[in-house]
Amino acid sequence: MFRVGYDASSANQKTPNSCVVTKMTALLEVSNLRTRLNDGQQMLSVVDGLDLTIDKGETVALVGESGSGKSMTALSIMQLLPDPRAVIEGEVRFEGRNLLTLTDRQMRLLRGNELAMIFQDPMTALNPVLTIGTQMTEGLRFHLKLNKKEAVQTAVEWLKRVGISRAEDIIDEYPHQLSGGMCQRVMIAMAMSCEPKLLVADEPTTALDVTIQAQIMDLMQTIRRTWDTSILLITHDLAVVHEIADRVVVMYAGQAVESAPAEDLFQKPLHPYTEGLLGAIPSWETETDRLPVIEGSVPSPGHMHTGCRFAPRCAFAAERCDRQEPQLKELKANHHVRCFLHENKG
């Protein structure tokens, strides 16, 4: 059903050959993504020219403070922006197909199936008036065309895989009967149940306690190893990133300011903002009396500084930074940075 005018050969079938069209390994290629939202008076640019590539089986982290546009990037990729008047420009290529040119119906066949998302607050992301079972089987029946019995069976299997021991009981329970950590497991089970190729996780552990956070992060690692799922992890927490990401993209005010393999970034951050962020985390290894700070706060969309957006808070800002906007440049293999300080070294 619901397959009118849709080429089913590529998206809806889980054969490994379905991605032969793409060049080599890139699963998702975002180029020059621009998202603008309407605030009632004007169009505000929340994501401004973002490039992002995720290979098969890779975990890429999108890091930034609130207002940096990281969640908006995720929602743009999933086309789940809260505002119907939002404008998304650029390209989001998933296995070679540009998601931005798909119709709503085509997108629905992919979302939850090939691309799945987990949200920050599991308590509000689940529907409070439907049982866990109903919510979990909906996608299985729609995407995988399972009958009710098979769907319930698969749901129970997945609940067990994410470490819920009394899965058979939980199927008939409502979200309010479960704790936050349990709900997040259910969300992950639900997202994984159609075995997506890309899992977008928006702050999956932010609302949880540290011991539960450790459990969930462990679970995400297992999922990625077992199913070779690519993960786009959105977070403000650099420590979480350090634990599980292969590559990191640091965002500031709607733009990527630095992008590098995780090891590189943590050992030798190049952008003053990244350096500041890393320095501002209370450290476990060295003890200082005062924490290094980044003065000021993140600018709001619509009030961007001309030139480099970070210049007003940057300790190294020169006169040129106020006039001219630096470009993202590749400095070393795979290490990109948007800053004039490193311009001549490239």
């Binding site: 349990m182 539960i212 450790a214 992060m217 209370p282 450290s283 290894e285 924490l291």
Partner: protein, 327 residues
């Protein structure tokens, strides 16, 4: 901030706070949430005592009970030699209310959106009938500048400020009556990392300048490590371990503290050390386990732990732990 052992400013003894669970048409009490279930500790003059634990462990309730926002169910709170646990409101207002102040977590919810900063900051002075109008205004401006805001801010409303700036206002408000003891309940948890560092530094500067004593409540062991002199770890309404910061971070004794420390993702030069992942979740505080409250999740629990509740006792001088492994 190293301090010689100083006089206690607050001495909490076997403090309990139970909240009744009311159900049914007549709202009968059918049980109690044992949020704080008999904790004892002292806060020394001039120090920062960090209180850590996961959500629901009772750390915020402990703080709020100490400032008498809640009436304690049992126990004593000895502030400057006087038990304030059961003082009537009228007596509280003349002394304790002025000297103990609180900074709240959410700077968006804790400031009245319909009042200007000037009004918000002046109100405590008016309530306590301090100074003339002109002196009051001078003090407000002085404090705004102290916390890093412009003097013109007195005419602005809270919504015009960012989260970090609002938290600065929250701090200024706590300081306005010139208190000696401040309870800061997750003061930086709602802030971004870069702003968080600014506020932590500000709190430290103010502590030095005004000789303040802090009870710093947080779930973030990284932040606690940075601000505290001593650290208490709470779990399910009980104090599990209490020690100098250096000791507790170098050699955590309690299995819960150990797992808490290992669970936290860190940014450091080395990749992950072995992580202790706790099974299951925190039991409900309305029906805490018999014996040691942690035994249901403890990797090292043995028979005794199920029946006998361990007491918080000194294992080494200044290092207290409530665990059968050590006593």
């Amino acid at each position: 901030m190293t301090m010689a052992v100083a006089d206690p400013i607050v001495d909490v003894r076997r403090l309990k706070k139970y909240f009744p669970i009311r159900t049914g048409l007549w709202q009968r009490t059918t049980g109690y949430v044992k949020a704080v279930n008999g904790i004892s500790f002292t806060v020394r003059k001039g120090e920062t005592l960090g209180l850590v634990g996961e959500s629901g462990c009772g750390k915020s309730t402990a703080g709020r009970t100490m400032i008498r926002l809640y009436k304690p169910t049992e126990g004593q709170i000895i502030y400057k030699g006087k038990d304030i646990a059961h003082l009537p409101e009228s007596e509280l207002r003349t002394s304790v209310r002025r000297e103990i102040q609180m900074i709240f977590q959410d700077p968006f919810a804790s400031l009245n959106p319909r009042k200007t900063l000037g009004t918000i900051l002046e109100e405590p002075l008016k309530v306590h009938r301090q100074f003339s109008t002109k002196e009051r205004q001078e003090r407000v401006v002085h404090l705004l500048e102290k916390v890093g805001l412009k003097r013109e801010s007195i005419h602005h409303y809270p919504h015009e400020f960012s989260g970090g700036q609002r938290q600065r206002v929250g701090i200024a408000r706590a300081l306005v009556l010139n208190p000696s003891f401040i309870i800061a309940d997750e003061p930086v948890s709602a802030l971004d990392v870069s702003v968080q560092a600014q506020v932590i530094n500000l709190l430290k500067d103010l502590q030095e300048e005004y000789e303040l004593t802090y009870l710093f409540i947080s779930h973030d062991l990284g932040v606690i490590r940075h601000v505290a002199d001593r650290v208490g770890v709470m779990y399910l309404g009980q104090m599990m371990e209490l020690a100098d910061k250096k000791k507790i971070y170098a050699t955590p004794l309690h299995p819960y503290t150990q797992s808490l420390m290992s669970a936290i993702p860190r940014v450091g030069r080395h990749k992950q050390r072995e992580r202790i992942i706790l099974r299951g979740e925190v039991p409900s505080p309305s029906d805490p386990p018999q014996g040691c409250v942690f035994h249901t999740r403890c990797p090292q629990a043995f028979a005794d732990c199920k029946h006998v509740r361990p007491q918080l006792k000194a294992y080494q001088p200044g290092h207290y732990v409530a665990c059968h492994l050590y006593h």
